[in-house]
Symmetry: C3
Subunit: 328 residues, 3 copies
C-alpha cells in the first residue's frame, strides 16, 4: 500500500482544486458510509447527498455543484467518480503477477509473448498466438491457436479465447460441422472477466476493439465485432455475427441475437434481449417486471390473452360508436 | 459402497420409526419409479403418492401422514427428504479426493491450507489464501490472493474465487479501472458449483455466509453479501454490492441487480430479475410466459401497446359514465 | 490449407451438379458479401438473394430453385448450407491437437482413453473415465470420475463434466447434501462448448445422446437426458431431471425447468423459459419485447395491472350489455 499523502499532494498529482485543510493526511479510500479517519470518499451521484452529511471520512471528492454541501476538506473536480478511481489507484497500486511466463504454463514455441507480459500458472497458449506488452493473463486462461491480444490486457482466470464458434448445418437429421477457420483479434487496453468465452470466427475473425471491458461469464459468439470502449456486464451474451458499436454498455444477463447490428452509444439494460438492430443511440430495456408470486400468476396468465383482450376493447369501442351514432 | 443394512440398523443410526419388517436388507437408495429389490425410496411430496403404489422398492421413507398408504416395510419420520439424504450418505459415503495438495497444483508458499483439506490437480492458490479443515477443492479451481475459505467447503472444478470485480469509471469516452482491493471471505460448510465465479470486493470484502450453497455457473459481483444457508441455483447472478439475506433461495437464471437488498426467507423464482429491494419474506416471480410461436408473436406485440390499451379502456369508461350520467 | 480444387473436382468429391465453367479454380470458402476471386460462397436463405447479385465470389453453391439467379459458375444441390459446410471442411481440414495425452494433463491410471484420442494440456481425467476413439479434449477440460465420453467427441476448454448435481434437502434451516452417485454418459459425435458444465446424476446417470451439440456456457443439471442430435445454443440451461427429445434446438439463454419433458422436434427460441412439459413438435417462444427505455417503463408498469385491466373490460362489457338489454 502506498501513501499516506496530504490532500495537497493528491491534487498536485491528479489535478482538482483543494478546498479546506490541504494538509489533512489520507491513507486510503473508502465509501461515504464506511470511511473513517484518514480515508477519502467521493460523491458522484446527487442521490447520495444525505450520506455526505453523515460520513466519517476525513476528506471527500466532489463536483463543483456539491462543493458547498460539506465543511470537510475536499477536492473539487469535474468527474468525481473517475477522479476517485485514480485516487484509489494511488493508494492501491496494482500488484499483478510477476512478469514472464509461470513455469506451469504451457506456451507454444510459436507464440509471441511480449517480455513485459505476465502469463499465470496453468495458462495454455496455442500456436502463433501473440500477446502484447504489459498484458496480464491470470492463472488458467486458455488462448487457442492464432488469436491475438493487444497491449495492457487483463484477462481473468477461466477465460477461454478462440474456441470454435457454434457453426453447424442441419443435414438429414444430423449436424455437419462448419470449420471455424477465423481467429480472435483483441485490441489494446481490454479487460476480460473470469470464465468469459470469446469464440473464433468461422471465416473472418471475431474482433474486440480497444478499451473494451467484459465482466465475468460473458459469451461472445463467432464473427462478432465489439466496438471500442464498449462495456458488458456479467453474464451478457452476444450471438454470432452481431456487431456492437463503440461506447455502448450492455447490462448484466442481456442478450444480443445473431447477425444484428447496434450503433454507437447504445445502452442496453440488464436482462434485455435485443431482437432487432438498433440504429439510434439511447437506452433500451426489455426486463419483465417481478411481483409477489400470487400477483405475478394472476397478471401473467393474461399476457397469453392480450390479443383477445385487445379484440374485446375494439368490440366495445365499435359497439359504443354505434350506440353513440344512434344517439347523435 | 457401504452396507447392506437392515431397516432396523438404518433407524438405529439415523432415527425414525420402523413399521413392518425391520429385518429387510437394504443395499442402496433409489427413486420410487426405478427402485427395485434391496433399494429404499422416499415419499416427500404428496403429489407423488400414486408412484408409491407402483414402486418396486423394498422399503420406503415417509412422513406420519403417509404411513398407512403402503404395506411395504417403512421408516416414518418428520422430514423424509432430509432423512433420505442421510440414508443416501450412508450407502454412498463420500470418496472425495485424497487429502493434501495434488503435485500439479500451484500453491503459494504464503497460503495457509489445513492439513485435512484436499486441493485437486491443477488448482492455483494465491498468496495469503486460507482454506479451512476438511475443505475439498476439485481440480482446476483458482483462488486469487487474500481470499479465505472456511471449513468443510466443497468447491467444484472451474470455479474462480476472487477475480477483480467489474469496477470501471467512465472518463472522457474511456474507462478508468477502479482497483479491487478487497477480498472474498467464505464461511463454513459452503458448496460452490462448477465454473461459478465470486468477485473480490472493491474496498470491503465480498462475503459468503455459512452453509451457503451455490450451483454451477453462478456469478457473484464485488462487495455482495450472501446470508447464511441461502441457496442459489444454476446460472443465477448477483450484481455488485447487493445483499441477500439468510435462508433465501434464488432460482435458476435469476438476477439480482446491484446495490439492492433482500431480506431473510425470500424465495426468488427461476429467471426472475429482482429490480428493487425486497423487505418482506415470501416468493417473488417475474418469468415471462412462453407460448407457441404464433400465439406469442400475436400477444407480445401488444405488450408494446399496453399503455395505449389502458388509455382506450379509460376513454370507454369515461364515455360510458357520461352516457350513464345522461340516462341517470 | 488444402486445395486449390476446380469446381469439377469439388463436385466429384461431394456430389452436386456443376453449372457453368467447371474448371474455375477455388482456393477457399467465403461469404456472399466478402468473398473474392478464388472463393466459393453459398446461398441457402432466399432473403439473401440480393447479395448474390453483388457477390465477388468466383462460384456459388445454391439450390435448384435459385439456379437461374446467377451467371456465375455454380454447384446446384439440395442442401446448400450443409454442402457448404463440407466444402469448407475440404479447404480447412481439421488440425486439432496431436493425438495422445499432453504431458501436463493429469489422467487417472484407471481411465481408459482411446489411443486415437487427444487429451489437451492441463486436462484432468478422473478414475474409471472412458473416452472413445478420435475424441479431442482441448486444454483445461475436467472429467470427473466414472464419466463416459463416446467416439469423435470435441470438448472445448473449460468444460466440466461430472461435477456434483445440485442436490440438497432442507433440514431445520440448513441444507443436507444428497450424494451424487450417478455419472455422465455421453454418446458419439457430441460437441461440447467452452465452459459448459454437465452434472453427474444423483442416483441414475445424466445422459447426452449421439450427435448432440452444446455451445459455450451451457449448463445441464443432474439426471437430465438430452436426445440424439439436439443442439443447444450458448448459455442455455436445463435444470435437473428434465428430458429433452431428439432433433430439438434450444436457443441462446433459454432455460428448461426441472423434471419437465420436451418431445422430439421441438424448437425453443432464445431466452425462453420452458415452465411446463411440451408434447407437440413446434416452435415455442417466451421472449419479452424490448423497447426504448421510456416506452418500456410506461408499458411495463401495466403488466402488473393486467388483471385489473381485464376486470375493467369485463365490467364495461357487462354494463354495455345491460344498457343494450334495456334498449333491445
Amino acid at each position: 500500500m502506498a501513501g499516506p499523502y496530504t490532500l495537497a499532494q493528491i491534487a498536485s498529482q491528479l489535478g482538482g482544486r483543494v478546498v479546506g485543510d490541504a494538509q489533512v493526511l489520507i491513507r486510503q479510500v473508502g465509501s461515504l458510509e464506511r470511511a473513517g479517519q484518514g480515508q477519502i470518499a467521493f460523491l458522484a451521484n446527487p442521490k447520495y447527498r444525505a450520506k455526505l452529511a453523515r460520513t466519517g471520512a476525513s476528506a471527500v471528492v466532489l463536483a463543483p455543484d456539491a462543493e458547498s454541501l460539506t465543511a470537510l476538506p475536499r477536492i473539487v473536480c469535474d468527474n468525481p467518480y473517475a477522479y476517485f478511481a485514480r485516487v484509489s489507484q494511488l493508494f492501491n497500486p496494482v500488484v499483478r503477477q510477476a512478469k514472464g511466463i509461470h513455469p506451469s504454463a504451457v506456451v507454444s514455441t510459436t507464440a509471441r509473448i511480449s517480455s513485459s507480459a505476465s502469463i499465470g500458472a496453468g495458462c495454455v497458449i496455442g500456436d502463433e498466438v501473440t500477446i502484447g506488452e504489459d498484458s496480464c493473463l491470470y492463472p488458467a486462461v486458455v488462448v487457442y491457436p492464432g488469436c491475438r491480444i493487444g497491449a495492457r490486457a487483463i484477462v481473468h482466470s477461466g477465460a477461454v479465447i478462440g474456441a470454435d464458434g457454434f457453426g453447424i448445418a442441419p443435414d438429414g437429421g444430423r449436424w455437419e460441422k462448419i470449420p471455424q477457420a477465423g481467429a480472435v483479434v483483441i485490441g489494446d487496453d481490454v479487460e476480460i472477466g473470469a470464465s468469459t468465452t470469446i469464440d473464433r470466427g468461422a471465416m473472418d475473425d471475431t474482433v474486440i476493439g480497444d478499451g473494451v471491458k467484459l465482466d465475468n461469464q460473458v459469451q461472445i459468439g463467432h464473427n462478432c465485432r465489439i466496438g471500442a470502449h464498449t462495456a458488458m456486464a456479467g453474464c451478457a451474451a452476444v450471438a454470432g455475427s452481431a456487431e456492437i458499436g463503440s461506447h455502448c454498455t450492455i447490462g448484466a444477463g442481456a442478450l444480443v441475437l445473431g447477425h444484428l447490428s447496434i450503433c454507437d452509444h447504445v445502452h442496453v439494460s440488464a436482462d434485455t434481449v435485443i431482437s432487432r438492430s438498433i440504429r439510434e443511440p439511447g437506452t433500451y430495456t426489455g426486463m419483465f417486471p417481478f411481483d409477489d408470486n400470487a400477483s405475478w400468476a394472476r397478471n401473467t396468465a393474461l399476457v397469453r390473452q392480450l390479443a383477445e383482450l385487445a379484440d374485446r376493447v375494439r368490440a366495445l369501442e365499435q359497439k359504443l360508436k354505434e350506440k353513440g351514432g344512434g344517439n347523435g
